[in-house]
């Protein structure tokens, strides 16, 4: 049963990431996703001290705000200060991450967060942390419920606004002509990326979220030119990574999240070589 919950959690993270990651790659925003996954840290810490507990809703709010702030700062330094994008990303996320680490150490002892868990969370604990209904029966692991909610939100967002996302992704100037604000969708997407990061960091950690954002989507991007196929394919790659990652970690007795990323990397490598040799 534990294996089932862990693979399910991994798959939920992987599918959420794969869908958002596909859009990030097409918009050439992957590194902004990377930046967000680090810079949500101070948001989480501050939310923790406002709410006084690791209540998920506050953490989601805190992380969401920080994610949007990060996106804004990167754009601001780039446009108003004429700082090149790579440096703007690098300065912004390291600054916020350093702030987060300082806050964590300052309140050390109070918080159940430490750097370890941020960098590579522990998915193996997922089945232990259960949510109970009013009769005291276990409904399921907390992480699974939160992640299902986040995935549902992402699916709803993509299905409802597919057209807007499609147009702003592929043809920003056309979007402008027909009156769709590229900016608004940009920020909405980044808000979702921060939600996903924070919902998954307890189980897979910030940096591994980045891997799941990029690797499955990049592998799918190599194979297809169609957005819908890419979304499906990258989700499938994500689930495969979760499934085989679990067994790989079982084999070598190592971190499950690390193993999932390793498998995602292997899937990308296979796609890379297939595409190379077909040419």
């Amino acid at each position: 049963m534990d294996a089932f919950w862990i693979i399910l959690t991994g798959s939920l993270v992987a599918v959420s990431c794969a869908i958002l990651g596909s859009f990030l790659i097409l918009r050439k925003m992957s590194m902004v996703g990377d930046a967000i996954s680090h810079s949500v840290l101070p948001g989480i810490v501050i939310a923790f001290f406002i709410a006084g507990s690791m209540q998920s809703i506050w953490m989601l709010v805190g992380a969401g705000i920080l994610g949007i702030l990060t996106t804004f700062l990167i754009e601001f330094f780039h446009q108003k200060g004429r700082l090149q994008t790579d440096a703007s990303i690098g300065v912004t996320f390291t600054w916020l991450f350093a702030l987060g680490v300082i806050l964590v150490t300052y309140y050390a002892g109070n918080a159940h967060i430490d750097q370890d868990c941020i960098l590579h969370g522990e998915i193996a604990y997922v089945p232990i942390d259960l949510i109970y209904d009013s009769n005291g029966n276990a409904i399921g692991p907390k992480a699974v419920i939160i992640l299902s909610f986040v995935l549902g939100l992402i699916l709803l967002f993509v299905v409802l606004f597919y057209k807007e996302l499609f147009i702003t992704t592929f043809d920003a100037s056309f979007a402008k002509v027909v009156g769709i604000s590229t900016n608004k969708w940009h920020y909405a997407l980044m808000g979702l990326v921060s939600l996903t990061t924070v919902a998954s960091f307890e189980s897979v950690g910030a940096i591994l979220v980045v891997a799941l954002l990029i690797a499955p989507a990049a592998a799918a991007y190599l194979i297809t030119n169609q957005l819908k196929v890419m979304l499906l394919l990258s989700s499938a790659f994500g689930i495969l990574s979760a499934f085989f990652g679990y067994w790989l970690s079982y084999l070598v007795d190592g971190s499950i999240a690390g193993a999932m990323v390793t498998v995602a990397g292997i899937i990308f490598a296979i796609c890379y070589f297939i595409v190379r040799f077909k040419k």
Partner: protein
């Protein structure tokens, strides 16, 4: 104050190690960072710092020892490999730089985490302490680390000194460097190697994530103060060194505080101050310049409109109602109130209840703008053969920037004309 004296007189040898260690690290990464910044590849530092992890684990597995030199060799190899993988993906597929960067960074790191947890779970007693590579241990540097850091810092700085001209060329203008026959591939290799070296050592002080800042942030801050590479390098090393000392001091006076994150914090504050307040390139001065140009345009357009109205009625100093201004040119109400108030303060117009009239200075200025506008229209039609009904927009833009010298040349070229293409008079 006492702590400050205690700190700077190095009463404990440990402080000396920490201070000199962090300064050496900060300077070598700040110097290398300037080149990656100019090549617009700042995030390469982030990739390398994540990618060294599998190398460290593998070299530990292979040798079974934690000797920093073995670990650094492993880290060096996997750092290099990550750059090669990234470049291969960019060159051979349609995947762009951003995704290739993130992919290489996160997959290498994931593999590293898998290996590290494998080592931890395998029950090897000597493994503890490998994870200092993840989070850094600046406050716990010892003599042996300092020796390793100094050797590497000297290698990095000497290489930059030796190949300064070449690195400068391949960073700014690789095409030109190729044309004049520089061995670009070999130079790139050397530059990447010292970048990897700087990262591999720096990581031990500040950790994987914050290493990127040690490369990027001082260079980005220095860029706002100067256009010369040599000065940029000096400045960013100074920023780096300062952050090293203050980071060490903060964690000395408040031992629970981590050195690495504070170093990055101080660097970031320097960078933020530079972004906003640097003379010439800072955000504030840029915004101010934009603002004052917009104000100048508004003022001159208003005066021009006054002049035009006076021209139509034949009487330049009559009062003009706000509605009349808006009939000639479309100003927003906010622009009108702001612009007219500014003109009043500067003495270009005077006020009579709700109507306005030009002063002598205002009249002269309005006349000059109108004159420049019409001269330019004439020039466009006469010399560039643009239809008279297409020249107005362009003249509207350029009338604000024509200097008196250019005005004189235009006048001479057009043989002291008296009327523009629309048969309006060009005022003297």
């Amino acid at each position: 104050m006492e702590t400050l004296i205690e700190f700077f007189t190095f009463q404990y040898p440990n402080i000396k190690y920490v201070v000199f260690g962090t300064i050496l690290l900060s300077i070598s990464s700040a110097v290398v960072g300037c080149f990656t910044f100019i090549k617009k590849k700042s995030l390469v530092g982030d990739v390398i710092s994540h990618a060294v992890l599998p190398g460290i684990c593998l070299s530990f597995l292979a040798t079974g020892s934690k000797d920093p030199f073995f670990l650094i060799i492993g880290a060096f190899i996997s750092g290099w490999l990550s750059i090669l993988v990234m470049d291969a993906i960019i060159q051979n597929t349609k995947i762009k730089e951003d995704a290739a960067t993130g992919l290489s960074l996160s997959v290498f790191f994931g593999v590293g985490i898998l290996l590290m947890t494998y080592i931890q779970h395998s029950g090897n007693a000597s493994q503890s302490g490998l994870d200092t590579f993840l989070f850094g241990k600046a406050a716990a540097l010892v003599g042996k680390d300092l020796l390793a850091f100094s050797i590497i810092a000297v290698i990095v700085l000497l290489t930059v000194l030796l190949f300064y001209k070449e690195f400068k060329l391949i960073s700014f203008d690789p095409q030109f460097a190729k044309v004049i026959g520089l061995p670009i591939r070999r130079l790139e290799m050397i530059l990447t190697s010292i970048t990897v070296l700087a990262v591999v050592t720096g990581i031990q002080a500040v950790g994987v994530v914050l290493m990127a800042a040690m490369l990027i942030t001082p260079a980005a801050a220095a860029r706002f103060w100067t256009n010369r590479l040599s000065r940029m390098i000096l400045l960013s090393s100074a920023f780096g060194a300062f952050s090293g000392i203050s980071g060490a001091f903060i964690s000395y006076s408040a031992p629970s505080m981590p050195t690495g994150p504070w170093m990055v914090m101080i660097l970031s504050v320097i960078a933020l101050v530079s972004f906003f307040f640097a003379p010439g390139k800072g955000i504030l001065i840029r915004q101010w310049r934009r603002f004052s140009i917009r104000r100048q345009l508004l003022e001159e357009n208003l005066l021009k409109t006054f002049y035009r109205i006076g021209e139509n009625s034949g009487e330049h100093f009559n009062t003009v109602a706000i509605d009349d201004l808006q009939l000639v040119r479309n100003f927003s109400p906010a622009q009108l109130t702001k612009g007219l108030r500014k003109l009043l303060v500067n003495g270009y117009v005077s006020r009579n209840n709700n109507s306005w009239f030009l002063t002598n200075e205002g009249f002269e200025k309005g006349k000059r703008i109108t004159r420049l506008h019409r001269l330019w229209e004439l020039y466009l039609t006469k010399y560039l053969r643009i239809a008279p009904d297409h020249v107005h927009e362009d003249a509207d833009t350029i009338e604000h920037v024509i200097t008196p010298e250019l005005e004189a040349r235009l006048e001479k070229l057009l043989e002291y004309p008296t009327s523009d293409p629309h048969h309006s008079e060009i005022p003297k």
